[in-house]
């Protein structure tokens, strides 16, 4: 076959591919959230507008703000290496530990951002744009082609907050040794805290309940319940789904809320109305800071 014929064949093939959109777009990664369908080709343009500076051109978390040599962040705020999409290990999921997150989990993460990290909330871009970004993010990892997301865990209805549930939660906090990392007062200063590393071998600090009102994966009791039932994959925070019963999980939620001494909540108010609780909270507030969240981080 002559070069002329080869060129002609290549041209005809390319033309055919371009004129049959199904053949081209059929392999595009998609995301689905309710009525929204995200498309990776649109998400790619958004990724290279918004995301690549931290997550990198290859989505491996090695953007220009995270130097490859020595993994030393050039930004003082980049205390955690940006997510490596290639590994497809995500902290905030509704699915069991070790499984892929749902599209909605990723969509919510993009919209919510990650408190105390450099990842902001992207609620000011459109829902469609967030869906498109999710589709593109998924295209970095072969796992999304070969595996399905895990089934979202079932979150039972939250029982009424009682002093008993808070006390039981406190017992669980001791029994499950949460304090070893999070500290006896939930300040993220437990005896193991300084030794912790994430899946990138980077040092990582446990959550400090004493500051702020939001958690890594949301701000509601429902979100907090999911955090310790699914675990934060890629971090030392395990899943407790096989360790505690669902009702115990809610007791733990109610107790953890009382550790947030600067954040008004029904749990804190109830606990403060008891003698024991009032003493605990008063002693913890002494360590609080007037300058707001984060100063002790």
């Amino acid at each position: 076959m002559s070069a002329h014929k080869i060129a002609k064949s290549l041209f005809l093939t390319a033309a055919a591919l371009l004129t049959i959109p199904g053949l081209v777009t059929g392999q595009q990664m998609e995301s689905h959230m309710g009525k929204l369908t995200g498309h990776a080709d649109s998400g790619k343009q958004l990724y290279f507008r918004f995301c690549w500076g931290c997550h990198g051109f290859r989505g491996d978390g090695s953007g220009e703000n995270w130097l490859a040599t020595g993994n030393y962040p050039t930004q003082p705020y980049l205390n955690i290496q940006p997510r490596n999409f290639d590994a497809a290990v995500f902290k905030c999921r509704s699915t069991p530990t070790g499984t892929l997150p749902t599209d909605e989990d990723l969509y919510n993460s993009v919209g919510r951002g990650f408190v105390m990290t450099n990842m902001p909330s992207w609620i000011s871009i459109t829902n469609q744009q967030r869906a498109d970004l999710v589709a593109f993010i998924k295209s970095f990892s072969p796992r999304f082609k070969s595996e399905k997301p895990g089934d979202p865990i079932k979150v039972p209805a939250e029982p009424k907050v009682t002093v008993e549930s808070i006390k039981h939660g406190q017992e669980l906090f001791q029994k499950l040794e949460c304090w070893k990392c999070h500290g006896p007062e939930g300040r993220g200063d437990g005896p193991s805290a300084s030794t912790l590393t994430d899946s990138n071998d980077q040092p990582i600090r446990p959550y400090n309940f004493a500051v702020g009102s939001r958690f890594k994966c949301g701000a509601t009791n429902h979100d907090l319940y999911k955090i310790f039932m699914t675990g934060l994959d890629g971090t030392p925070m395990p899943s407790f789904a096989d360790v505690i019963k669902p009702e115990d999980g809610w007791d733990l939620v109610h107790f953890l809320r009382t550790l947030q001494v600067t954040n008004k909540s029904p749990e804190l108010a109830l606990w403060e109305s008891t003698k024991e609780g009032a003493e605990q909270i008063a002693s913890r507030k002494i360590h609080g800071t007037a300058t707001g969240s984060g100063i002790n981080q």
Partner: protein, 465 residues
Amino acid sequence: MLKLPLRLVKQRLSWLPSSLVFGFLLLALVLGDTRPAVAIPSPSLHVRAIPAFARKYGMPCSACHEAWPKLNNFGQTFKDNGYQMMNDRDAPIFQQAAYWPVAFRITPNWHRESVNRTDITNPATTLTTEGQLTTHGFDLSGMDILAAGTLAKNISFLLVPSADNTGAFHFESANVRFDNLLRSSWLNVKVGKFELDNIISEKRILTLSNNGGLYQIYHFVPIGDINGFGLGDNQLGAELSGHSKNDYTRYSVALLSSNDGNVGLSNGHGYDTYLTFSQAFEAGSLGLQRVGAFAYVGRAPTYASLTAGGSATADGLGQKSFYRAGFYGLWYIKKLDFMTMYTHAAESAFLGTGTAAFADLPAGARGPIWNGGMIETHYTFNPQFVLINRYELIRMSRQALATNSGNLGDIDSLTFGYRYYPFMSSRAGFAFHNEYSIVRQRGVAPISATDVTSSSVFLGFDFIF
């Protein structure tokens, strides 16, 4: 056999960018020669894009700007949050001690300006005639020093000492801002000198030439009018503003000194009010659309009391009222977007005729009224290349003096160009900027009272660090 044509194609393609550049320049020169042109005020480069923020948060320019300095909704949200990402890492406590929240911007350029009818005095004969004046050469824009950031959580500042291209400085902006009062994004207060809450921001304009570097619609006053106010001018005052978390809904109310942003209280002691409201809505894959409205109600002095033997202005007196009102829309069709705006304006007959409030108005004088419209189109091929086109028109609806021609002062303005950003990083910004702009104003030639047409050609290297 296949390699040869490919190489040729490559060679030809390599000429494409430079051909486009020089083609554009040639076109601009040709158009400039055939359509010469006005004495519109030259803009200095008081435009906002702050790589100090990009450096602080490690984000590329394109995260906050559709094409810098023009903000996208994410950038607008960041600004409306008081330069905060709202991820509890905004306070200075998280900054390295060596971090300096300062950026510099200037644009070395070559430009050509032409006016078809202007008064030219022959130095030999001292005779003044009307003729065409064309100048061109290498030049500098003004320079902005942009210092901005947070002083503490929910307290931020902006300080912009600006110089014109001779190096003469003034404070373009200087304000402090208190955000999320009562833990609500609907309550934010700003005090000092600041840009009015114009979503179509002249400080973030994508065109830079003498003719195209401003929105005519923001600065127009009728012929003979003495009001120096401009919607595009930064003003002194206090602003209460608020927004939804995603910035889709925004409002602002400002109380401003009636001095068009001039310091020293020398232009009167009245107060103006500016109100804005806008609402954005999603339109599927097309993008985020926004509509909004604004109204400015103010007073301007008609004469001044003097001091220091009559050599200095002590106070602006005899204030008379004026207003500007309008609505706008930002319309997105994926990479193509349109900014549209309509304004309606009116002034007191005293301002319109330049008559002091204590004096009698000329016979038949009435308050001038005019309307303006604008459409600006962008095609953002990618974050590194944007095509720009803008058309503005201003039409007098009522002249202050009935003896004036009905269309005296009417303006038509056309601007087009492109900006190319060779790199996009979180450290600095650089754009190669090419632009052509032509403005025609009716009946303002100094001697013949015919139309005046001016044109600008601008090639600049716009950098900010």
